[in-house]
């Protein structure tokens, strides 16, 4: 009995290891490529670790005007859409959590319903609408689109947190003469900091990672976001740019990895289980 269980455990470890190699290997390979000098990439030698480590590709990325400016654009859109979405969602989340009226069902219906529709159906008319307002090929337009796109999720996430805060805190503040706005931003705001932190990360990363809207809405080369620029990079210039592309991809992955490091705790705590059961 003991021997078989040792075999089973060994097999399980082996299987897990295979899974991890499959799942992690492509990223490891990309990181390794990003540190290999150009000749080594094309030398036909396959090695996981670079024989000579070089930062030339990272240097290229920061000297390359296009990639650098696309990163700045992505930052701009990410930060502004994040700030806006949190400012808009906070009162909305409060309203959903503290009053229960038919609007709650409407909001929930919308949050779920919006999942069904393929982006293309929203994108075409949105493109026409923004073009009418001269907001296509504009970072302002793209920012607005991301605000709306992230809103349902952030609203839902914050609303769950507001609910978990006892109403008595607000009642005390009301007696002291605080207005609704003061209650939301001054009193609940600090209590909600962890949730706001999560929303900020979520909104920033989803704007940073987004591709489809940016591909359609942005036309000028100097207004491109990072993801679109990187996708263009693979198409036109081909493999000669393998090294710089790997370096830029590694940099582009950093914010998302940070977000997941943060969300890890939630996965562990079984928040997902609750979400599925509902």
């Amino acid at each position: 009995m003991k021997a078989t269980s040792a075999v089973v455990t060994g097999a399980a470890h082996g299987a897990l290891l295979l899974f991890m190699i499959f799942l992690v290997f492509p990223l490891v390979w990309m990181v390794s490529t990003s540190f290999k000098p150009t000749q080594e990439i094309f030398s036909g030698i396959v090695s996981l670790l670079p024989e000579t480590t070089s930062l030339e590709h990272y240097r290229t990325v920061f000297q390359e005007q296009k990639i650098l400016s696309s990163m700045v654009n992505s930052f701009y859109v990410g930060i502004f859409s994040t700030v806006l979405v949190v400012l808009i969602a906070l009162p909305g989340a409060y309203a959903l959590a503290r009053y229960s009226t038919r609007w709650n069902n409407v909001a929930l219906g919308w949050i779920l319903g919006s999942q069904i529709f393929p982006v293309i159906l929203v994108l075409i008319p949105l493109y026409l609408l923004l073009r009418m307002m001269f907001l296509t090929d504009s970072l302002v337009g793209l920012t607005l689109v991301y605000v709306v796109w992230d809103l349902p999720f952030v609203l839902w996430m914050l609303h769950g947190y507001v609910r978990s805060i006892p109403v008595e805190i607000e009642e005390a503040a009301t007696i002291d003469g605080a207005t609704r706005g003061q209650i939301i931003f001054r009193i609940l705001g600090p209590l909600l900091l962890p949730a706001i932190g999560a929303s900020v990360l979520f909104a920033f990363v989803s704007a940073w990672n987004e591709f489809f809207f940016a591909l359609v809405l942005m036309k000028s080369p100097d207004l491109m976001t990072l993801q679109v620029e990187l996708a263009r990079f693979t198409g036109m210039e081909g493999q000669a740019r393998t090294g710089p592309l790997a370096a830029a991809s590694v940099l582009a992955t950093v914010p998302s990895v940070l977000l997941f490091g943060f969300l890890q705790k939630w996965f562990a705590s079984g928040l997902v289980a609750g979400a599925v059961k509902n």
Partner: protein
């Protein structure tokens, strides 16, 4: 509570929700409804919008490219969904055993999910690269092939190649949900089964699978929806090529609208996608309701 105070409450709530509602109506709901409508028009960029009833859908019946894209769309969606759920289930079962290093593994497995979709495509492009890619290098070295294969432009290999990359990116999602589902199964069920002398396989088929069914149904139908709507990773890998072989429905709709200017037709493709996704969702809800009743 009387009617008047009820109205006042709704009003107060509405005022707070307004900053969120206005942009959602303007930039999300209104465009969406308009998008559905455009699917019944012959609108081309720059021309006037004319309602043409079901003409777009009649055109689809004879449109070889439409059929091709939905065919590959179904193959992609079904194989990727099946692959991610089966492999995700294996991974979740392994992680549920609570051995050493499990917590490191469950962090590491998130890696593909944590990468932006475009980067997932770029990573696999580098793996599949005919000259510098690791896949060819390994296969040549081990003697399995003698000549480098151009995976992403070969009619034979492109669909499997793209599907493998797709499954790779989606495994973590399935594994996370299924692991949460496994952890929600009460331990005493297993203890009871052990006392009755049930073996591992019996435990799996009699307890684990039935208890996991609701989560499984949710994962399968959500994954189906997400995979059917895939755009980014395939766009980076193949742009729909070679010869339109990997032109998923989203890529087809994108090209119709923004490459050829057939906006109305593209919206019609979107409408067909909504119908298909709704059928899947409806099926899921029926399963779920039956589950709740029994």
């Amino acid at each position: 509570m009387n009617k008047r105070s009820q109205n006042r409450r709704t009003g107060g709530q509405l005022k707070l929700l307004l900053p969120a509602l206005i942009p959602v109506f303007l930039l999300s709901l209104f465009p969406l409804l308009r998008g559905v409508y455009l699917g019944f028009t012959d609108y081309r960029l720059g021309e006037t919008i004319r309602f043409n009833g079901l003409d777009n859908y009649a055109r689809m019946l004879h449109d070889v490219y439409f059929w091709q894209s939905f065919q590959v769309g179904f193959i992609w969606t079904i194989v990727v969904t099946a692959g991610q759920v089966l492999l995700g289930l294996c991974l979740a079962l392994l992680l549920h055993r609570k051995m050493r290093f499990t917590s490191i593994y469950s962090t590491l497995m998130l890696v593909p999910w944590a990468m932006p979709p475009i980067i997932r495509g770029i990573v696999w492009r580098q793996v599949y690269d005919p000259d510098t890619g690791i896949l060819n290098a390994l296969l040549v070295r081990s003697g399995l092939i003698h000549q480098n294969i151009n995976w992403l432009s070969s009619f034979e290999y492109v669909i499997p190649a793209v599907i493998v990359a797709g499954i790779w990116g989606e495994i973590p999602k399935a594994a996370v949900f299924l692991l949460a589902g496994l952890q929600a199964i009460p331990d005493d069920l297993y203890e009871a089964a052990r006392i009755d002398g049930a073996g591992v396989w019996k435990e799996f088929t009699r307890i684990t699978l039935p208890m996991l069914a609701p989560v499984m149904a949710a994962v399968v139908s959500l994954s189906f929806m997400w995979n059917f709507n895939t755009f980014g990773i395939v766009w980076v890998l193949t742009q729909g090529g070679p010869g339109g072989l990997t032109r998923l429905p989203m890529l087809a709709a994108y090209e119709e609208a923004f490459r050829y200017g057939y906006v109305g037709y593209a919206a019609a493709i979107g409408n067909v996608m909504v119908v298909i996704i709704s059928i899947v969702l409806f099926g899921y809800l029926r399963v779920q309701l039956k589950e709740n009743r029994s």
